[in-house]
């Protein structure tokens, strides 16, 4: 059993919640870009979520989880001081940042929670970070202060203009690239984009003509997260890769987005159905 030592909603709409969980093994090795798999109880699904932070001394790992399906909605009902039955990791490869000097990190929605620790680690290593954070509307904006702290330049935008600038991340990414060109050479040596698949696809289209190396973090459906089932396979550069061991970071210009987007929808019906059936009497907690 693993204790939740901190729980905190990150936005007004309470769509995304932070959990700091006691997990010394994970805390010891976790790095930005990796993920963990948790299970609420014996009958629960195994859910992969990104490492949003860690405290090696305290032996805790932090995750930021959006209530999407049944299990994540149930997780939101877990309180500080409660226990969850399992959390394992860290899984996947950490984000590579060796030798980088100037990076533009783009997050969309809950993707900002995944991009935040990456930006933080880059900032700590002295890499210049421009962060573009996009949200649908003001009520779901997260991590304003934290993002400001770790970036040299922060642009927050919303689709409806209710917070920050109005517009999509693609527009601001293009602007940033354009305004950072010296002698026809883009100054960003990398763009890191994390968000909905469709957003990452369009961001990849933005950077392609400039030839800027672009990395995205994928979250296909997973089962074991250790390379045992092949459920998480994605096509990258014409080859089949397992996102849980070969990724989750991949070269955006090599990823086959069409098959990725189709596969992600595979269990959608079942998930929507299951989400409707959360037991309301127990407030979502099965055993209590």
């Amino acid at each position: 059993m693993y204790k939740v030592v901190t729980k905190r909603f990150l936005n007004d709409a309470k769509t995304i919640c932070l959990f700091e969980i006691e997990a010394p093994y994970i805390a010891r090795h976790a790095r930005a870009g990796q993920f963990v798999i948790f299970r609420l109880d014996e009958q629960g699904e195994r859910v992969p979520v990104s490492v949003a932070g860690y405290d090696r001394e305290k032996g805790t790992v932090t995750v930021m989880v959006q209530a999407a399906g049944r299990t994540t909605k149930m997780l939101h009902t877990v309180e500080q001081g409660d226990y969850i039955s399992d959390i394992a990791g860290p899984l996947g490869k950490a984000t590579e940042m060796e030798g980088l000097k100037k990076v533009c990190v783009v997050g969309g929605g809950v993707g900002c929670a995944i991009a935040y620790p990456i930006a933080k680690e880059m900032h700590e290593r002295g890499i210049e970070v421009t962060f573009i954070a996009g949200f649908r509307s003001a009520d779901i904006v997260i991590l304003k202060d934290e993002l400001r702290e770790v970036s040299d330049k922060l642009i927050i935008c919303t689709d409806d203009g209710s917070y920050g600038k109005k517009g999509f991340t693609t527009v601001f990414l293009k602007q940033e690239i354009e305004s950072n060109i010296i002698w026809s050479r883009p100054q960003f040596d990398r763009v890191i984009a994390i968000g909905p698949d469709i957003m990452m696809k369009f961001l990849a289209d933005v950077t392609r003509p400039y030839g800027i190396s672009t990395i995205i973090s994928l979250d296909p459906i997973m089962v074991d997260g250790t390379g045992m089932c092949g459920c998480c396979r994605v096509i990258v550069g014409g080859e089949t890769k397992f996102a849980c061991v070969d990724g989750p970071d991949f070269d955006a210009h090599q990823v086959d987005f069409d098959s990725l987007i189709k596969r992600a929808a595979f269990y959608k019906e079942e998930q929507d159905e299951a989400a409707k059936h959360i037991c309301h009497m127990t407030g979502g907690k099965r055993n209590g």
């Binding site: 093994y25 994970i26 010891r28 090795h29 009958q43 629960g44 699904e45 195994r46 049944r70 299990t71 399992d86 959390i87 394992a88 990791g89 860290p90 899984l91 089962v223 074991d224 250790t226 390379g227 045992m228 089932c229 092949g230 459920c231 396979r233 994605v234 096509i235 089949t240 061991v245 098959s259 189709k262 596969r263 929808a265 595979f266 269990y267 079942e270 998930q271 299951a274």
Partner: protein, 277 residues
């Protein structure tokens, strides 16, 4: 099984869950924590795929995924949250014990038709005779001498069929297995909504890639001698992690053998007398 685990615990074995060796902790760190010997029994988990078009369509599973979802994560039970797709017509590619298992599980999960597709003939099937008979008794159909060449899908990316080429058996190879040769112009499509790939696994590279000093065989198995000792001092290994996919009986034997030699090793290191036979 549960009783045996309780038994082990009663004997003083501590079981630590949710630790992925190589990720949560490395073998070298286990030694730093004071362990004197380490045994690796991590199995052969990495599923092989066919590398044919359509393998990423929706409705294509590795046998590992299907069996994990059903056996370990109990997708068939209402009180568990694991999702699994309802399927109707299933093609299982491969003809080993795992393929037989997957075919029978698919049938029991409610498939109306389950076909085993294999590129060689019935006599060449690696599955145990008994397993094949059980499968036949449960109504599994066998499409021998058919080599899958593509998985077909509809516009939304769901599987609608498995395209196969019929095969003939050629001359026996050096091991006496008659290798199949394609019959020209014999391409046909087996209609199905699910394809399960069960053509074998190889050892997971996670531990070997994070443990300096371990050496591996060409197929990715960990090198270990008759005493289960690897190339790395105080690290022992056995089971599928060494042999590649084999059997429960062999894995249990390997565990016993390793236990004996680990005991010997620790006695020797600590200058204690040999164990009584």
């Amino acid at each position: 099984m549960a009783a045996e685990i309780e038994n082990l615990k009663a004997m003083g074995v501590k079981i630590v869950n949710n630790v992925i060796v190589g990720k949560s902790i490395t073998i070298d760190e286990l030694f730093e924590e004071g362990y004197e010997a380490v045994f690796i029994g991590s199995g052969a988990g990495l599923p092989q795929f066919l590398h044919i078009p359509g393998e990423n369509l929706m409705g294509v599973y590795s046998a590992n995924e299907l069996l994990t979802r059903t056996n370990l994560m109990k997708a068939y039970r209402e009180d568990y949250d694991t999702p699994i797709k309802k399927f109707n017509k299933v093609a299982v590619v491969g003809a080993g014990n795992v393929a037989m298992d997957a075919a029978r599980v698919a049938k029991r999960l409610g498939a109306s038709e389950v076909h085993v597709v294999y590129r060689r003939g019935k006599n060449e099937m690696p599955a145990r005779q008994e397993e094949v008979e059980h499968a036949e008794a449960e109504g599994i159909e066998f499409n021998m001498l058919n080599n899958p060449c593509a998985i077909l899908g509809d516009e939304s990316g769901h599987v609608i069929g498995l395209q196969c080429v019929r095969q003939e058996l050629g001359a026996p190879d050096e091991r006496g297995r008659r290798s199949p040769v394609p019959v020209e112009g014999s391409t046909w499509t087996l209609e199905c909504d699910t394809v399960i790939i069960a053509i074998g696994t190889s050892p997971n590279p996670l531990i070997r890639s994070t443990t300096p000093g371990l050496t591996t065989t060409r197929k990715g198995g960990i090198d270990a001698d008759d005493m289960a000792h690897t190339e790395k001092v105080a690290v022992f290994a056995g089971g599928d992690a060494v042999t590649g996919s084999a059997t429960v009986i062999m894995a249990m034997g390997a565990g016993k053998n390793a236990a004996y030699w680990i005991d010997e090793y620790i006695r020797r290191v600590n200058g204690e007398p040999k164990a009584e036979e």
